[in-house]
Symmetry: C2
Subunit: 230 residues, 2 copies
């Protein structure tokens, strides 16, 4: 089986950096599903209009089109139930959704404060104008101003935000226990976003999160480790 995945790309089409697309990539790898990744740019809304949405990831599996990384994970667990990544019960599903929403809101906000300008710099020219205008409007200041204190407040904010992750990793190898599950994948996606767009070091080397990240980079034959970086 091969599915098609529309993925956010930079000026270099090989540079794929969306945290949400990486989540889907990791779920597909977990299930052993082959994927053809198509590069997509912010300004190519028309190319994914068939999905009913304006954002990636967009997964095409035969006749089926699914958007949104969470819904894609749910779909893949239904369609390919051999190696589940999400809990089956409402309690476990709710807790996972909590971690998912925390990453989207808290963690991504903290990471963006450090790498937003780097993202701009790797985009294709038509995307750069869109990205700068939309992000500067949302944040109320220039991209340069957002990242100006990343060496101090920015990186401190990311490391502080990761405290709940650290609490779990003090007890076990993966958020999923003895093996990774979707909690690991979604968080690896967040760090892969930062890793692909920037050389800025978010984690201290002696952070338990860094040790976990090294384990994650090696998963699936180095899927994350070998991905092109800016």
């Amino acid at each position: 089986m091969t599915v098609t995945l529309y993925e956010l790309a930079g000026a270099d089409p090989a540079l794929r950096f969306s945290p949400y697309c990486w989540r889907t990539r990791l779920v597909l790898a977990h299930k052993g599903i082959d994927v053809e990744g198509l590069p997509w740019r912010f300004t190519e809304k028309a190319r994914i209009a068939f999905s009913g949405g304006t954002r990636v990831p967009v997964l095409v599996d035969g006749e089926r089109v699914v958007t949104d990384s969470w819904h894609i994970a749910e779909y893949l667990d239904e369609a390919y139930p051999d190696a589940l990544v999400l809990p089956r019960d409402a309690a476990g599903r709710g807790h996972m959704l909590f971690i998912n929403a925390w990453a989207d809101g808290v963690l991504h906000g903290a990471i963006a404060r450090c790498v937003l300008k780097d993202i701009h710099d790797l985009l294709a020219p038509e995307d750069q104008a869109y990205f700068r205008e939309s992000r500067e409007r949302a944040m109320g200041r220039s991209l340069e101003a957002v990242v100006s204190d990343r060496d101090t407040a920015g990186v401190t904010g990311v490391r502080a935000a990761l405290a709940p992750v650290r609490a779990v990793l003090r007890r076990q190898m993966w958020l999923g226990g003895e093996a990774p599950d979707y909690a690991d994948y979604l968080l690896l996606g967040s760090l892969q976003w930062a890793r692909c767009v920037s050389r800025f070091a978010l984690l201290a080397e002696d952070d338990p999160v860094a040790a976990w990240h090294h384990r994650g980079l090696a998963l699936f034959g180095g899927l994350l480790e070998n991905a092109p970086r800016a």
Copy 2:
């Protein structure tokens, strides 16, 4: 069966407000275990020295003494396995611990910014001096300065911090699914802390978290709703 629980109290010994003690109270109620709650004050370290620690909750169950709300929940699930509150598997346990650590760090920090001065005001005189000195040293400013913008940045911070909770409650009644589990209890404990120490309104009435909170207040015959408030 009756267990003994040392609980943080105000000048009024009936006023019990520690979020961590409320977590334990809710687990005990969930399991139908009778509890004798003993009021304890910050400056009474000697009274709980037998526990090996300096903080409450301290649970005494026959010969067994357990400290720390998370360890108490684990102990109670082991000793009274009829109505479990924690997931049994490492993945589910890890996700729950994540939510627990998030509440302790992120949410409690945001709530403290709003109610720290109210806590001070309800304490016994000897605790007031200890509380002011230790908290002002930790926060680098006076209690009055900490809460000075609670009507604006303070309350906005609490509501923003609750975004991951809101994401789950859009899909289900409780964080635990169709019935509350420890994720609900720990978060209800956090809000009960704020509710017992202050009349300051943290939640907007139309917030899905407020609707969930009302359901939580009614649990176990109104255990939370009927608790004394400052």
